[in-house]
């Protein structure tokens, strides 16, 4: 039972990584840049939701909308102000700018929100756990332990609402995103831009608008990830986004940077590896193990799991 519990929490954490990794991989695929400020968008999303929820008049659903909106706008503005002027600059200049934006966001948060971590109120606060499993009895769905018909017996497996929500919400979003990219005209334009920006322009595709849209989608996903993550791990600080940002970047590279299914698979695998190594090997070494796995994967398959073979036909 404990294995299932670790596996589920790994899947849940991995789904959150996947949502963040999607932002990295889409932006890399289309704008050909590593947006190292992406992790800090998560942090901003967390604070936006936190501040909105602290207002007594603001219901949770509205706080969620506010957080997604703030991040979407922020992503588009960052692209326009910081990255667009560097569209034809060397990649290193763009990379350094992204790191600069990352520090800027962290320090603005530090100035306005202080370094003291805030306790994030779960978006599923007060909701019953998704699943309770008892030894030899029928499992209970959406039932509080206090309402359990089995008296004071403690469950052998608990899957919290937060864990469940992270998986379900991520699955729905990934399915919707896949449909959007493969079935709509705007999605096809994104694919065209990621393959050949110049040729895409010759089709009449507005590349700048497409890049803006990519940043908007990636940042909106980051806001969703922020709320799911802060609900499961409720401490919010100005550096909250850094580690998940780096892990999600690893997940994107792991899956094959630029590949959307790759980011999903990479994210989920990374979460599972992390949680299982925490449980069975060492909680201190878990991050080291995650990065070790990345190194091994890249040695065996330099383009990542789903990475495209780099071949050119002349």
């Amino acid at each position: 039972m404990s294995f299932i519990s670790y596996l589920v929490s790994g899947l849940s954490l991995g789904s959150i990584y996947a949502l963040i990794a999607l932002g990295y991989t889409m932006v890399y695929g289309i704008a050909k840049m590593l947006n190292f400020a992406h992790g800090d968008i998560i942090m901003v999303g967390g604070y936006a939701a936190f501040l909105a929820m602290s207002a007594s008049w603001c219901p949770i659903w509205l706080a969620m909308i506010i957080s997604v909106t703030v991040c979407t706008v922020l992503g588009v503005v960052i692209e326009k102000v910081a990255y667009r002027p560097l569209r034809s600059a060397p990649p290193l200049a763009v990379l350094i700018t992204a790191i600069g934006v990352s520090y800027l966001l962290q320090n603005i948060a530090l100035l306005t929100q202080s370094a003291t971590p805030k306790t994030f109120k779960s978006i599923a606060a007060g909701a019953p756990p998704f699943l309770l499993v008892f030894e030899g009895k029928a499992p209970l769905f959406f039932t509080k332990l206090s309402d359990s018909p089995y008296g004071g017996e403690s469950p052998v497996l608990t899957i919290s609402m937060e864990t469940f929500l992270a998986i379900v919400v991520s699955l729905v979003i990934m399915a919707a995103l896949t449909l959007f990219i493969n079935k709509t005209k705007a999605g096809k334009a994104m694919l065209a831009c990621s393959e050949d920006r110049g040729a895409a322009q010759l089709m009449g595709i507005n590349v700048n608008a497409t890049i803006s849209m990519t940043f908007a989608i990636g940042s909106a996903l980051a806001a969703v990830a922020a709320m799911l993550m802060c609900s499961a791990y409720p401490l919010l600080s100005p550096t909250t986004g850094s580690m998940p940002g780096i892990k999600a970047f690893v997940a994107a590279v792991f899956g094959g940077i630029g590949s959307i299914p790759g980011a999903m698979i990479g994210g989920v695998l990374l979460g599972v590896i992390e949680q299982l190594s925490k449980a069975y090997i060492s909680s201190q070494l878990s991050d080291a193990i995650v990065f070790l796995v990345l190194i091994v994967v890249l040695i065996i398959r330099p383009t990542g799991i789903m990475g495209k073979k780099i071949s050119e036909k002349v």
Partner: protein
């Protein structure tokens, strides 16, 4: 009024002066060839016309409208299509998806379907390979796809950059036949070619570019017999 008017066009790559003030016209219904050696500025000319490169000086007019400063994506909907050098089909997308991206600026589904039928008619081989990804096509088929994709925007003028490059002689003849057919069906063609002989054989008029300048202009048949052209470009 000419369909495409280029007036004293100057283009720079950084500090390198790639086009030194060239002027030429393309009349409606013509096939115009732009010939010249590697590095003469042929591709630069096409890229500047379609907005992929900025012009430093001079003007480009399409059907009387100044498009010198218009962004590339807007120029497509004004009736100009560009088949780029090296085809640049979207290798990961299917043949059908590539063709539909060609119609990106158009809205009317019925009209798009009609153009698609027309493209199938002209390139039956593409129709057989609709579900295949473009990267798996042969070079000649990719050239056909790039041309079909350009036709999907229903252009009044089509710019073609080295359509014969890297193709077997059999394909080259086929491609040139198709260019003539496209032209006969009413589309004006501006053709850039290193294969000067082939280009001059189907063009009405031609311009010869040398290091950013137009050094010769005239009827294609005249240029074909010009001693200078014969020596430098026709290998005679």
């Amino acid at each position: 009024m000419a369909l495409l008017e280029i007036d004293k066009l100057e283009v720079y790559y950084g500090s390198i002066n790639a086009l030194k003030g060239i002027s030429f016209n393309v009349e409606r219904g013509e096939i115009i060839a732009l010939i010249g050696a590697n590095g003469a500025g042929k591709t630069t000319t096409l890229h500047t016309i379609t907005g992929l490169l900025p012009a430093k000086k001079g003007s480009i007019k399409l059907d009387g409208h100044d498009i010198t400063k218009a962004p590339a994506h807007r120029i497509v909907s004004m009736g100009m299509a560009h088949v780029p050098e090296g085809r640049r089909v979207f290798a990961q997308l299917t043949v059908y998806e590539n063709l539909m991206l060609g119609a990106y600026t158009r809205k009317d589904k019925d009209e798009i379907a009609a153009t698609l039928e027309n493209v199938y008619y002209r390139f039956p081989r593409l129709k057989e390979r609709l579900k295949q990804t473009a990267g798996t096509l042969s070079g000649g088929e990719q050239q056909m796809l790039a041309m079909g994709r350009a036709l999907m925007s229903k252009p009044s003028i089509i710019l073609m950059d080295e359509p014969s490059m890297g193709l077997s002689p059999l394909y080259v003849s086929e491609i040139f036949d198709i260019i003539q057919e496209i032209n006969k069906a009413g589309t004006t063609v501006l053709l850039v070619e290193q294969n000067a002989k082939k280009a001059l054989s189907i063009a009405n008029r031609a311009y010869v570019l040398e290091t950013g300048n137009i050094v010769l202009a005239g009827d294609a048949s005249e240029l074909m017999n010009n001693e200078q052209v014969k020596k430098a470009y026709l290998g005679e």
